[in-house]
């Protein structure tokens, strides 16, 4: 336990020392908010079911943060550690793989949450963002979604032979996810074909779940999203446990 807490603290400091990772999880979503917010404002419109652009975009941008921490940070950090022999060095000390995975989950979860809170603060202060859901429900949906994306990140790290491959795979997952899921551009403007494609993208289910919970829609209406994300999580955990390699 002592090792896990120390490792979490160290990994936290290392995360902060890596400006690009901190940028994508903490600053980039805020830039998106201000860019689209300055174009469309946050007026209620029937187009968004009576909500404003910022109201529906805020939970969607939170999904983008999960893409950056889960798909990018986790896969790149873990694969780089393996490629460079950091994992070997850890293993030669009596460190268990669960401590390595646990520390990455803890640090990236906190960073995802921090990014989400900064985004919400920006949306409330600059655009009077409206929230009609329960904080507990949104946090539960946030946690499920975040962990599912982390699981994908660990699988990417495991299947990539080098950190370069992990980086490319992470990009190949990240961009379709943030653009085809309605996370960046609302699905409301998608043509039917694109809507169909969006069903194949995991982040779509995060966006749908978080947007629904954001405005107080009950869990019963989100069985599909919860099922897909839970399945992703379970499969991801099993796959990454099976494929975890020290070197």
């Amino acid at each position: 336990m002592k090792a896990l807490f120390k490792l979490i603290w160290v990994e936290f400091k290392l995360y902060i020392r890596q400006p690009q990772a901190a940028f994508f999880s903490l600053v980039f979503p805020l830039l998106l908010l201000f860019m689209f917010g300055s174009i469309y404002g946050n007026k209620s419109t029937p187009f968004f079911g009576g909500h404003g652009m910022v109201d529906v975009s805020t939970p969607a941008y939170i999904a983008i943060i999960m893409g950056s921490t889960g798909l990018m940070s986790i896969s790149i950090i873990v694969s780089t550690y393996r490629e460079r022999g950091v994992l070997r060095r850890f293993r030669a000390a009596p460190l268990r793989p669960t401590a390595i995975i646990g520390s990455q989950v803890a640090v990236n979860f906190v960073m995802t949450l921090a990014g989400a809170l900064i985004l919400v603060a920006g949306a409330v202060l600059a655009y009077r963002m409206r929230f009609a859901g329960s904080v507990g429900a949104v946090f539960a949906g946030f946690t499920l979604s975040t962990l599912s994306f982390f699981a994908i990140g660990f699988v990417v790290a495991s299947v990539s032979r080098t950190s370069r491959v992990a980086q490319i795979l992470a990009m190949l997952l990240y961009f379709p996810n943030i653009f085809l899921s309605g996370a960046t551009v609302p699905k409301e403007i998608f043509p039917p074909a694109l809507r169909l494609i969006s069903k194949a993208v995991p982040m779509t289910y995060v966006v749908d779940l978080l947007q629904g919970l954001w405005f107080g829609s009950p869990w019963a209406k989100h069985v599909t999203e919860v099922a897909v994300l839970a399945a992703l999580l379970v499969v991801g955990v099993i796959l990454s446990a099976k494929t975890f390699r020290w070197e």
């Binding site: 120390k6 950091v86 070997r88």
Partner: protein
């Protein structure tokens, strides 16, 4: 006291390739035991099997009385490991690395004195990526000592270090042994093995070709002593062949090499030169050393074989 390391018929195959081919040896508590061999001879595979980093294909290993596979975590509590290929996160500071690794062990040693002892106290706040090769190596030794281990494994500790840093490393290793610890190291510098090790095991093609003290290895080789000097252009060294013990006389330019055996070889040759009134310059002798033992006992197939797996 029981052996620190007992190895019986250790074998390791990678696919169809046999890296370690059934070797057996013991390491006594408190000794510095060195493994030397050409690239690809199986040094790193051997040390990593002992550390529990690799699973042997066959053989019985007892490290401090433990089985490295079955009792991996218990063993790692008690050993220190410096790996040939390993790294730390670029932005990790020296003190953070020690503090972190100390937390991995149940009974860590205080790490502040280690910084002093290893001469990296002034690098306390430096990030890993900013350290020189020697400083990184010192940090890795500090990490290997942070649990106050009974047995320390050092894999090619001084590869890539300059001669100064290498000498400093040797002192460190002797210091580790001085604290009553057993040291198991691999090296490809014969000078290092000769200087540091109580016993040296030479391996080639995954097999032991010799295991003894450096002194005995050299003595058993019964190698020739060489006398090398420079003489004037008109000098003919052929008469030296008649000197007792001389086996070979060669001349290239002004440089003459006389090789032979016997305790009195050097005196006899010098006397013969003096008697003949030869003016010689810069005479030196080369005693056989571990290098000669190594060259005699291992095949040079470095080019044909792969890296240090």
């Amino acid at each position: 006291m029981t052996e620190a390391i007992a190895v019986k018929a250790l074998r390791k195959n990678y696919g169809g390739l046999t890296a370690v081919d059934g070797i057996s040896f013991d390491v006594r508590p408190g000794e510095i035991f060195g493994v030397v061999g050409p690239n690809g001879a199986g040094k790193t595979t051997t040390i990593e099997c002992l550390e529990g980093m690799r699973v042997p294909s066959a053989g019985v290993l007892s490290i401090l009385g433990l089985n490295p596979q079955r009792d991996g975590y218990a063993l790692r509590e008690r050993i220190g490991v410096q790996l040939q290929q390993s790294s730390l996160p670029d932005d990790l500071k020296v003190w953070e690395a020690l503090d972190l690794f100390a937390s991995y062990y149940r009974k860590p040693a205080p790490w502040e004195p280690l910084l002093e002892e290893l001469g990296i106290a002034d690098k306390r706040e430096a990030r890993f990526a900013k350290l020189s090769g020697g400083q990184k190596q010192r940090l890795f030794i500090a990490l290997a000592l942070v649990n106050d281990p009974e047995l320390v494994f050092l894999d090619e500790l001084t590869t890539g270090l300059d001669p100064h840093a290498r000498r400093a490393m040797w002192n460190l290793v002797q210091g580790i042994r001085g604290r009553g610890k057993t040291v198991f190291l691999t090296t490809h510098y014969m000078e290092e093995a000769e200087h540091l090790c109580d016993r040296v095991m030479i391996i080639d093609h995954g097999r032991i070709v010799a295991l003894n003290t450096p002194g005995n290895l050299v003595a058993n080789l019964r190698a020739e002593t060489r006398i090398i000097f420079t003489a004037g252009a008109g000098y003919d060294p052929e008469p030296l062949r008649a000197v007792e013990g001389v086996t070979r006389v060669e001349r290239s330019g002004g440089k003459v090499t006389v090789a032979g055996r016997g305790d009195r070889l050097v005196i006899l040759v010098v006397n013969a030169l003096d008697a003949a009134g030869v003016r010689i310059r810069s005479l030196r002798t080369e005693q056989p050393n571990l290098d000669d033992v190594f060259m005699a006992m291992t095949e040079d197939k470095t080019e044909a074989r792969g890296g240090a797996r």
